[in-house]
């Protein structure tokens, strides 16, 4: 029998039809929608005079533009309010499950899907958001789509997609203390560049990946798009099953046993061929931070910003433009740089383990005076756990400001913006120019590094901060 990859198995079983010399008609099991990329899709359905084909396969939550304070009150920003209200109207009209602001399971779409057990191995999942790749952590094919495709899924439960090439990234070995899954993925992106996986769907494998918790795996898969990949996935295993067992939408009783038996078959055959393979050793990876304006511009926290040696043409001018934006010089050390803001949150690192990690680190310490520290849980459920576990108290005593769930300062669509020229060390996923507000200078790092920076007030290595 032909040896196939996990990606092949899921993809091929969801192809309704292959268009000759064209894309596949690809069936979608689960569709997540939010307030920003769905309104035009619904509007176009109306213009065409058609409805939603299968409302039970779509789940909605407002997350991108919502305020992170006073969520029980009317949204002040008129345009944000309109988008959220439009989402409510559309969900009510077509009978789509909505986890609205203030409800028990409100949160960032990529946090609540797994939390509720909606995300399951073997599924095809899409959402009008590039970080949909997060759900790949469960052994699902999950990727971001544009609004035209949101419309296609609503109208037909299918999209037209060409099958991506296959890449496997294997990380073996054991990472040292203070090295998190965020460091693993920032390292990988720095190695293969922000466009290095464009055209590919990535499978992450190896002992260092297998040893990660589900939440840590989600962080890795979340950032697949930051190296250009369509998505990333990890074969489901006992860690996956353990996480899903008992979740609200997970199968129950006999159905559970049947599901697990099927999920166990979802892995790449030995000898299956990938179009591209990379191998890394976890022991080589140290706490990472970005210094530029794309996520591929990352270095060890202890490292120096690369010089322009060997660069030419638009490559060099783009690099210098990026450093000029950041206010950095080629060749200088990143450690010791002053920081103004820290942000803990987003679909990359806004889960309970991330908040625990920050709280355990800052417990009994105070943030530096020059730092404004925001912590934004990924969901109401995460917020609730953080309260119940006493983490909120620890964080507030350390000078962090806890806000309500949403995408928040990750993309600054709401009021949570980093002021122009200020430096933020952030657990989010993008350091693009202006991503966290016009003129904002973002450095991406792990929750642990962010915690250390909050205390030290400057870029530092989390392994060194409390040594003295």
């Amino acid at each position: 029998m032909e040896k196939t990859t996990l990606f092949d198995k899921i993809w091929d079983s969801h192809v309704v039809k292959s268009v000759p010399a064209g894309p596949d008609v690809f069936f979608i099991d689960k569709h997540f929608i939010h307030e920003v990329t769905s309104p035009v899709a619904f509007l176009n359905l109306e213009k065409r005079g058609i409805g939603v084909k299968n409302p039970s396969r779509t789940v909605a939550t407002p997350d991108h533009n919502v305020p992170t304070v006073d969520q029980d009150k009317t949204i002040k920003d008129k345009l944000s309010r309109m988008q959220v209200e439009r989402l409510r109207e559309n969900c009510a009209k077509y009978g789509i499950e909505l986890h609205d602001l203030g409800s028990a399971h409100h949160g960032i779409v990529h946090v609540i899907g797994p939390e509720l057990g909606i995300t399951q191995p073997g599924m095809t999942i899409v959402c009008g958001d590039s970080h949909t790749s997060t759900h790949g952590a469960f052994g699902a094919i999950a990727f971001g789509i544009g609004t035209s495709e949101v419309e296609m899924v609503l109208a037909t439960q299918c999209i037209m997609q060409s099958k991506a090439k296959k890449m496997r990234i294997t990380i073996d070995g054991v990472a040292g203390p203070g090295v998190t899954s965020k460091d693993l993925i920032l390292y990988v992106i720095a190695q293969i560049s922000a466009a290095g996986a464009t055209g590919y769907f990535v499978e992450y494998a190896g002992s260092a990946i297998q040893s990660l918790s589900m939440e840590a795996r989600m962080t890795v898969c979340n950032m697949s798009i930051e190296m250009g990949a369509r998505g990333g996935l990890i074969a489901p295993d006992e860690t996956t099953f353990e996480y899903l067992k008992g979740k609200q939408y997970s199968p129950k009783g006999e159905e559970w046993d049947k599901a697990v038996a099927h999920w166990k078959t979802l892995k790449t055959d030995e000898g299956a061929v990938f179009d591209k393979e990379y191998h890394f050793d976890a022991a080589d990876i140290e706490p990472m931070i970005t210094y530029g304006t794309n996520p591929g511009m990352g270095i060890k926290v202890k490292g120096n910003i690369p010089t322009t040696e060997g660069m030419e043409g638009s490559n060099k001018s783009s690099y210098l433009k990026s450093l000029a934006y950041m206010g950095f010089e080629p060749g200088e050390a990143i450690k010791g740089k002053k920081v103004d803001f820290v942000f803990v949150g987003s679909c990359t690192n806004g889960r309970i383990e991330d908040i625990r990690s920050v709280a355990s680190y800052v417990k009994g310490h105070k943030k530096a005076d020059n730092i404004t520290a925001w912590i934004v849980p990924g969901s109401r459920e995460v917020e609730k756990m953080a309260h119940e576990e006493g983490l909120v108290k620890i964080l507030e005593e350390a000078g962090f400001e806890l806000r309500q769930p949403g995408c928040s300062a990750c993309l600054a669509m709401n009021d949570d913006k980093i002021p122009s020229g200020k430096y933020a060390v952030s657990t989010s996923n993008r350091n693009f120019e202006g991503r966290q507000g016009p003129g904002a200078r973002t450095m991406l790092a792990s929750p642990l590094t962010v915690a250390a920076v909050a205390i030290a007030g400057e870029i530092c290595d989390p392994r060194e901060v409390f040594q003295n």
């Binding site: 000759p20 010399a21 008609v25 920003v36 789509i145 466009a195 669509m413």
Partner: protein
């Protein structure tokens, strides 16, 4: 929705010789708060185009009257980042019908084809040639020919062929979109979905 038909386009072009132009630059997130598709062109490249007070930045190419046209020629890895289709709506609304680069991000490329903006991938050498020529001679035109899958620098006649699959090629030339196609096969989809 179905869009304009696109067969052959001859136009002057705007050079943007920057690599890794991400969709947050094309249209910043704070301008995504609309419930309709029109009007995004005003904020195309907002933070490169205007300062914080909203005054045009003189050194940005869209503010330079020397350059205009329906074709944007950019550096490598154009359209990376967010899946926001609003980035393509902004380019379209501003007046661009074609973007040329030596390398496009995946989702962006799909989004372009879905609303009828043609992404043309050329070799890095040809991209540099186009950028250098149109920068030096703004009146130079470029011809993009979908039926023959050919892009030509009209002043010198130099050309390259480009890839586009037959299905999308047909869609672009006839102004069809994927939903038209999918709606026509709803019985097949229903039969498939019955097992899922």
């Amino acid at each position: 929705m179905a869009y304009d038909k696109f067969t052959v386009l001859t136009s002057t072009a705007v050079p943007l010789p920057t690599d890794n132009v991400d969709t947050d630059q094309i249209i910043p997130a704070r301008f995504l708060k609309a419930t309709e598709r029109e009007g995004f062109g005003d904020n195309l490249f907002r933070d490169w185009r205007y300062d914080v007070e909203g005054n045009p930045k003189k050194d940005f190419v869209l503010n330079d009257p020397t350059y205009s046209g329906k074709i944007l020629v950019s550096g490598r890895n154009f359209g990376s980042g967010s899946s926001r289709e609003h980035a393509v709506w902004a380019l379209y609304d501003y007046g661009f019908r074609c973007v040329v680069s030596s390398f496009f991000a995946d989702i962006f490329k799909n989004n372009c084809l879905n609303i009828g903006v043609l992404p043309v991938t050329v070799s890095p050498e040809f991209a540099d040639k186009l950028l250098d020529t149109i920068t030096a001679n703004p009146e130079t035109t470029i011809t993009v020919d979908i039926p023959n899958q050919k892009i030509t620098l009209d002043s010198t006649g130099e050309s390259e062929s480009f890839d586009i699959n037959e299905y999308k090629k047909d869609n672009m030339q006839n102004g069809f979109d994927d939903i038209d196609y999918l709606l026509n096969m709803s019985d097949e989809i229903d039969a498939f979905a019955a097992d899922k």
